[in-house]
Symmetry: C2
Subunit: 340 residues, 2 copies
């Protein structure tokens, strides 16, 4: 069994390489934008007082650095890539919180909730610019290739969010459509995080593609686990009340599977979703039982495992040393099993 | 005297080179995003029906191509730069309209007003990604340099908008602060538009910087003229009622100058701005007279001319052929004199 503690060590090591350059990048921002960005990363409170906190698990840059190490023996050439993917990830969080009107993230108020819509748009935009700058300055012969891969992935990330917005206006969404949206929102950037590690370490095209697929499949596993946590996650770990996605009537992957393949339970769940008005606690608990009885929870757990298996299979083509392979397999398992 | 018709010909020639690649870039977008982006460029109505219209004057890409021609004799190597600056310009327009809650642009409803806040954020973000992609794919040895210059300018553009938002919450803004904001909002991207033409044409660092300064000074002239049009512009040309910036209580450059240096008229104008409640037509007309009597209009006209002179002086260092120099001088004059 993989050890979560070892994976956390690997991620912490990656964060130690990336965080100083990330902070350095934020120093370029004007004072207003810098305060908001520094707050968003968790490094200060809304008045600019340092919190002493770090910037979270930093899975994406960790992935970038582990891949680079697997390719060329050192994470160093990929540090600007790690900084860039973390900046793009946070650009998307700030814009998504605004669009979804979420007022809390990691137990803290979101940027738009404190500073308003305009600053949320602008600070997100500024982080995306910094990502471009950091990559363009990295003095690597692969800077253009890395920048291109990141831009394509960012556009794919945006496409996922566009689908999310479009689906909210529709009565029903098919499972393939829902998977496509999840892939856009999560797989694209995890795929690029792995790909940038390979690109900046000088890997050939086939190897870069293998790592991109690894990250992409991991992204789907990640999103499926996120959806499971959104229903059954422990509040003290997720920072949200139990069943919160059902309370918000969110049609996540386990729900969409249940609606499509869950037979009588699925039809009952569809009727539940068709009800208007705020659901009571009993209503919400009943919906969770319906998803479970329909088989949606079991399907999601199996699908997350299957995506981790596919991620591992993609690595077969990358031809990497056993020790590095072991790290990447552990990271994949960690993502699939986190807090479940 | 420069002929506006010749400058319009120059810009139209540039648009002919840039538009096909711009349309080609938009084809990469998913169908939802593409519809909104194509509408924003004016090429279709909100249901996707082609309008047959072009994408406006396209001053920024025109500038990029004219500079490239001045440096290396051909606009061709700079076409991806022209596409990229036009994409960034439109990214900023879509986000700015949302932040400013403007419902009309070029006599048409704005993106957020039709499709909502989320789509305005996302379509803007997607255009910025396309700009990166187009530059990264341009097969130029100068692609990284061009991408970096554009990212820095975009962040500067964002800084200008951040200042605009911050200043709206303050009682008074000094003239240098107001110039700094205008430089961020307008000079940064016009500077980069000229700079990218030089970079992609293979100019040396000093020449790139000379062209950047040329575009930067032009940007300030452009903004000052915009502010004059916002007060005294003819409604049939600006698409806005006369005195519209005063009606909206906007403290533009001629106003800020008048408040700071306009003596008794300036103090009377300050009292006018301190009044709350919606101003009547007579109130607004009185404010325009106060700006004029304070000397704000005269100062702005002289300042725009001075910026055009400085733009021309920057070109002295670029060492370009007289025919190219003449084109760039005409463009500068056109910007300073447009519709006044």
């Amino acid at each position: 069994m993989p050890s979560a503690i070892n994976v956390l060590d690997l991620l912490a090591r990656g964060r130690e390489l990336v965080d100083p350059q990330l902070r350095h990048a934020l120093e370029r921002l004007d004072e207003h934008t810098r305060l908001v960005a520094t707050y968003h990363f968790g490094w200060c409170d809304e008045h600019g007082r340092p919190t002493g906190a770090n910037s979270g698990k930093a899975i994406r840059p960790g992935l970038t650095l582990l891949v680079a190490e697997a390719v060329c023996g050192s994470p160093e050439p990929a540090v600007p890539g790690g900084v860039a993917v973390e900046l793009i990830h946070n650009f998307s969080l700030i814009h998504d919180d605004l669009m979804d009107r979420d007022t809390q993230r990691r137990h803290r108020r979101t940027v738009w909730a404190i500073w308003g819509d305009a600053m949320a748009v602008l600070v997100g935009d500024a982080l995306a610019c910094l990502a471009d700058e950091v990559l363009a300055e990295c003095n690597s012969p692969y800077a253009v290739h890395a920048g291109h891969a990141l831009a394509v992935a960012t556009r794919e990330l945006i496409r996922g969010q566009v689908l999310d917005v479009a689906f909210e206006r529709r009565d029903s969404v098919s499972l393939p459509e829902c998977v496509d949206m999840a892939a856009g929102k999560t797989s694209s950037l995890l795929g690029a995080s792995a790909e940038l590690g390979a690109i900046l370490a000088g890997a050939d095209a086939a190897t870069c593609e293998a790592f991109r697929t690894y990250g992409w499949e991991l992204g789907l596993a990640f999103q499926i686990v996120d959806d499971l946590l959104g229903i059954w996650g422990a509040p003290e770990k997720t920072g949200k009340p139990v069943f919160s996605d059902l309370r918000a009537h969110k049609k996540t992957l386990p729900v969409v599977w249940s609606l499509e393949y869950g037979g009588a339970h699925g039809r009952e769940l569809a009727a539940w979703f068709a009800e208007t008005g705020a659901p009571t606690e009993d209503d919400v608990r009943r919906a969770a039982v319906l998803v479970e009885n329909a088989g949606g929870r079991e399907w999601a757990l199996a699908e997350a495992e299957e995506r981790v298996r596919k991620a591992g299979k993609a690595l077969d083509a990358a031809g990497i040393a056993p020790a590095n392979r072991d790290q990447l397999d552990r990271l994949a398992q960690f993502i699939a099993e986190r807090q479940l």
